[in-house]
């Protein structure tokens, strides 16, 4: 509670722009300027960037350590009793119950988590935006049907659905992404629909109509830009929930099939060993926690950046 939310973004030291370069700053530029001054957001961005880099560089990590993600080191990776080995020079994060390198597996797990998180939430957001826009804009019967559809999707018990679906298709990455997207789009759709309902009554929509603009143009040129901020915020908040969602599915054996490493099935495998091998639980768990925390905090900051009037939970 230390200062008024007054925007003084440009310092006086900045050189004045030449008069022919006068350009209004878009809401994007303003949001970016605010985000840039938010230290926590910057920290989250850096953490996320690191996670992405590490995920992309997973084969490099495997090459550096000399351990493949699914390689079992029966002799060097396991104690004579057959238990996981603690972190050491050879295995920085220790080994798991089969003598595999936890570090390499966590790094490979990041690929699955990010891929399913980003892909599933992008699909969900795209679907939610289209359904919400169409329902909210056209109203009437179309809207009633779509709104009921969203209610139905939101009231589905997702785990039962996932178990049922997997029993038909068999587990796999694409099935998980489909399940996550299928259960996430409706909440986006609702928000977009509500906003569209109010935006379509604006005078500038009427102005577009009086100019002869078609429905598609009004929806995507006149209404959508006013929704982008909320959609971006939703996207950044959906990604961590999708990551956790994927981990849950893997944990339950409904996601990516086991030899492949994911944080969820590593946690699942570690269950029997948490008393003797803390590293087996800690590293995948911490990776999951840090990733979701970074995305969630970033989502909050993005929301603040687009709507600086909204009250923050914590002042910073």
């Amino acid at each position: 509670m230390n200062s008024l939310p007054v925007e003084i973004v440009e310092g006086g030291a900045e050189p004045l722009e030449p008069p022919d370069a006068i350009e209004g700053r878009s809401p994007w530029q303003l949001a970016w300027a605010r985000l840039r001054r938010d230290r926590l957001a910057l920290a989250c961005l850096i953490v996320i960037a690191l996670i992405v880099i590490v995920a992309l560089a997973a084969p490099l990590v495997a090459w550096l350590t000399g351990h493949g993600p699914n390689e079992e080191f029966q002799t060097t990776g396991l104690t004579p009793d057959g238990l996981p080995r603690p972190p050491s020079r050879a295995f920085l994060f220790g080994t798991d119950d089969l003598g595999r390198d936890v570090l390499v597996r966590v790094v490979y797990g990041a690929r699955i988590s990010l891929l399913s998180g980003v892909l599933a939430s992008s699909v969900a957001v795209a679907l939610g935006v289209v359904v919400g826009l169409v329902g909210g804009y056209f109203g009437g019967l179309v809207d009633t049907l779509l709104a009921r559809l969203m209610d139905v999707v939101l009231s589905f018990p997702f785990l039962l659905f996932a178990i049922a679906l997997v029993s038909i298709t068999g587990p796999g990455l694409w099935v998980s992404i489909f399940v996550i997207a299928f259960f996430s789009w409706a909440s986006v759709g609702r928000v977009v629909r509500g906003q569209t309902l109010s935006l379509r009554e604006r005078e500038y929509v009427e102005a577009a109509r009086s100019l002869g603009a078609g429905d598609l143009r009004i929806m995507f040129v006149d209404i959508l830009p006013n929704l982008v901020a909320q959609v971006i915020v939703y996207l950044t908040l959906l990604i961590p929930s999708a990551v956790v969602f994927e981990a849950t599915l893997s944990f339950l054996g409904l996601g990516v099939v086991p030899p492949a490493a994911t944080w969820g099935n590593m946690l699942s495998e570690s269950l029997g060993y948490y008393r003797v091998a803390w590293w087996f639980v800690l590293f995948p768990g911490a990776a999951l926690l840090i990733t979701t925390l970074a995305f969630n905090l970033l989502g909050d900051s993005v929301r603040d950046a687009f709507d600086p009037r909204g009250d923050r939970l914590f002042r910073r």
Partner: protein, 348 residues
């Protein structure tokens, strides 16, 4: 502005009716109520003239504007533009007419999309109708900005960076982009400061001369309407009660409602102001959900008699007026007649 040329009729509305369904049961057949926003409005707009449209808030002025533009579907009646019936055309069929008639909105803040740069807002008509692209569009947008008195360098700014008057200029530039024949101005200045109002009114007048525009000018401010209009139509509760040449209407108001409106005009001369008598109407405007029978003005009219509640007066010349002065009143006001019961009111 110039005197009305007795030119051809550009826009003709005949018996336009617009009802809006309201109430919880509106989706059921026969259920709910309807707001009778327009109930049989007929008017003509001649090429090159400015037709003023005045009336209280809620009398249906804006609804009429949107019906003339066919932004609303008509409940009944007919709108002809350039001699062609457009009242039943689909949105696709209306597209060519969108280039020929345009609307300027009342609210300069609501009518511009806050997320778009004004260069792209003003360029919208070109984009929608595929008239000009890229550099060509940009050049024409800048010409328009200069035409309405904006700095053409500012095309990259957002609406929030402009004042109310400047925003209204942006709205005007957008409306004029495709060189329409008819521009319907829906209270274009009522949201602006008085000092800015004059600038915008003068701009509209200059543009009319320059681009051969025909205006329908909606306002509730009679002084503004008198200044810009060749002819004036007065609306009350979804009907036109009187139409006349501007000076004729001010000199010889026939309808008691018009007379009451004119008597409420402030006068700059204090001596004259003292000698005037205001006609104070009693009661409120009745609800358009359940309008009065007969003449809709009769519950508030100082001259109302039994007949007024029974039959609706047609809009026609009264008291020997010629065909340009039409009044919908059984007992029109004669020149010199005093509606405020005493003193000398009205008249020339």
């Amino acid at each position: 502005m110039s005197a009305a040329p007795q030119g051809d009729v550009l826009l003709r509305a005949t018996g336009v009716v617009k009802h809006f369904a309201v109430g919880a049961r509106r989706l059921l057949p026969g259920g709910g109520h309807s707001v009778q926003a327009l109930d049989g409005v007929s008017l003509e707009v001649r090429r090159g003239e400015t037709l003023g449209l005045v009336g209280e808030t809620g009398c249906g002025k804006s609804t009429l504007a949107r019906c003339l533009m066919r932004l609303y579907d008509l409940t009944a009646g007919r709108v002809e533009f350039g001699g062609e019936d457009i009242s039943l055309l689909s949105r696709r069929q209306l597209r060519p007419y969108r280039q020929r008639m345009q609307l300027i909105f009342q609210d300069p803040f609501g009518s511009l999309n806050p997320r778009r740069r004004i260069g792209s807002i003003i360029g919208d008509p070109f984009a929608i109708h595929g008239v000009a692209d890229g550099q060509d569009r940009m050049r024409r947008v800048q010409e328009l900005m200069e035409l309405v008195g904006l700095n053409a360098e500012h095309f990259n700014r957002f609406p929030s960076e402009f004042s109310g008057g400047q925003r209204q200029r942006i709205g005007i530039a957008r409306a004029l982009a495709l060189r329409p024949e008819l521009v319907i101005c829906d209270e274009p200045v009522s949201a602006l400061d008085v000092s800015i109002q004059a600038q915008i009114v003068n701009l509209l007048a200059d543009l009319q001369g320059e681009l051969n525009l025909t205006y329908v000018f909606i306002a509730h401010d009679l002084s503004v309407v008198r200044h810009v209009s060749d002819r004036i139509a007065v609306m009350y509760l979804g009907k036109i009660v009187e139409v006349a040449e501007a000076e004729e209407l001010f000199a010889r108001p026939r309808h008691p409602y018009t007379a009451a409106l004119l008597s409420a005009l402030p006068v700059a001369d204090p001596d004259l102001a003292d000698s005037r008598r205001r006609i104070l109407l009693t009661g409120d405007v009745p609800s358009p959900i359940d309008p009065p029978s007969g003449c809709r003005f009769h519950p508030r009219c100082p001259k109302a008699r039994a007949e007024c509640a029974l039959t609706e007066p047609p809009l026609e010349p009264r008291l020997g007026d010629d065909g340009t002065h039409l009044t919908a009143c059984h007992f029109p006001v004669a020149v010199g007649e005093d509606l405020a019961t005493a003193g000398a009111e009205g008249g020339a």
